[in-house]
Amino acid sequence: MNVSESRAIVIEEIEKIAPDVAPVSIGDDEDVREALDLDSMDIFNLIAALHQRLGVDIPDADAAKFVTIGTAAEWLAEHLDS
């Protein structure tokens, strides 16, 4: 999976867990907690949803990568290629 594909998946899952926000409107390097007003429960739900959709185990220590769409997409692309 490349970064573009994983980016699309991250955006889709954000839209599912928070249908009242528009993740396509923010930059890849913006903190979704600030730009979209997501909280720790939303980030928890995003990581759980990605785990369930892709079967990838995202360590709790890497959760901080999932507060921007860009770093989340890069993490997924890297770990789903290996």
Binding site: P19, D20, V21, D39
Partner: protein, 382 residues
């Protein structure tokens, strides 16, 4: 019509989810009502059979008026609602065009997923829901989808609760609170290393859906503490303060775009952390979609408010009447901290208690906050 707050005088019955003859059990959702707090799912608190629907869909019903009669097994008909007498002659709602199926857990019907508000508007405008593409979770039809389909784009319309109505409800409740409740405040800061370290160890070996967030630990610590501090856990009305025999802890949940609600989780203190975490996830999700249950709004015995993620160190929350206490948590900050007689940099959490001086006082309030700290320093006890 259940009371969903001291400021609520009436609600509008949006939809019946049961019909006469349907069997119901304690906890079943039988109707949806519209209030300033959003669309609320009305539960039934006894087992039996629906005998008669006393109110038609679309009717505004005063708080306390019965909505339906329920026949208990082998017994006379019982009314749903605290008042013994029906207020108006009514007729059952005509059968819907599509069979009504059991409501899904989050309030959507499983055949055509749509929010209660969307179903109401569809009925009013005679719109076939199956012709609408839903933009909500799992394709659920939202109010905005219907407005877009029937009138063109609706500027400002967004999924979730009616924020202007919610703002009015918040204003009424909080103005009454500040006007009537003699608040006092206590603040306590303490090191939170042990809870954070325990959380890291707990989450390390678990898949993402089975993990916990710190908020669950804070919530459980407060719930366990309230068991021993009954003067902070209950309701105060014109007849005085009544301590609750159970802890139904409310969680102040921010709605994106403005507004908040404080639905509760029943018997919070009895839930194991994984179960509590699952209930918190469900509660936050439903609240932000504007889907609460009547008991979640009316039964809270105390509330927790956490603004920590917004980067503030402490908050001075306002009590949600008829409750008599609210506990706030700020953000965790790294601070110089005396540890084993040496100065070290430690994560520190600040918690605040707002108490109602008509029901409790600062001495016991201080002990309450120290008990919360003690429990968070012994996470295994949670």
């Amino acid at each position: 019509m259940p009371s969903l707050g001291a400021d609520m005088a009436a609600g509008t019955l949006v939809e019946w989810l049961k019909e006469p003859g349907d069997a119901v059990e304690h906890g079943d959702i039988i109707a949806v009502v519209e209030t300033d707090k959003g669309a609320i799912e009305v539960e039934v608190f006894e087992d039996g059979t629906i005998g008669e629907l006393l109110v038609e869909a679309g009717a505004s019903v005063p708080v306390g008026a019965p909505l339906a009669k329920i026949k208990a097994a082998g017994e006379a008909i019982a009314e749903v609602g605290p008042s013994p007498a029906p207020t108006k002659a009514v007729s059952p709602q005509p059968a819907p065009e599509k069979p009504v199926v059991a409501p899904a857990k989050i309030g959507f019907q499983s055949e055509t997923r749509a929010s209660p508000a969307a179903r109401k508007l569809a009925r009013e405008r005679n719109i076939d829901l199956t012709s609408i593409n839903g933009s909500g979770p799992e394709g659920a039809i939202q109010l905005a989808d219907l407005e877009a389909a029937s009138k063109g784009p609706a500027p400002g319309a967004a999924p979730g609760p009616d924020l202007s109505a919610m703002r009015r409800a918040i204003a009424a409740a909080m103005a009454r609170s500040k006007r009537e409740i003699p608040h006092y405040y206590l603040t306590h800061s303490f090191e939170i290393s042990q809870a954070l370290d325990w959380l890291d160890r707990y989450n390390a070996g678990r898949a993402p859906p089975e993990r916990l967030i710190l908020g669950a630990l804070l919530f459980k610590a407060v719930a366990l503490t309230l068991v021993e501090f009954s003067e902070f856990n209950g309701h105060l009305d014109n007849e005085g303060y009544k301590a609750s025999g159970a802890v139904h802890l409310g969680s102040a949940i921010a709605i994106r775009g403005g507004g908040l609600a404080a639905p509760c989780i029943r018997n919070t203190n009895t839930l194991a952390l994984p179960e509590l975490m699952a209930k918190l996830r469900d509660l936050v999700t439903r609240t932000r979609r504007g889907q609460f249950r009547s008991s979640e709004i009316s039964d809270g015995t105390a509330t927790v408010s956490s603004l920590g993620e917004r980067g503030v160190e402490s908050l001075l929350p306002i009590i949600y009447p008829p409750q008599v206490a609210i506990i706030g948590f700020g953000s965790i900050v790294q601070r110089p901290w005396a540890h084993n007689d040496e100065l070290a940099v430690r994560p520190v959490l600040t918690t605040t208690l707002a108490g109602d001086h008509r029901a409790n006082d600062g001495h016991r309030g201080a002990l309450l906050l120290r008990q919360v700290e003690a429990l968070l320093n012994d996470p295994e006890a949670l």
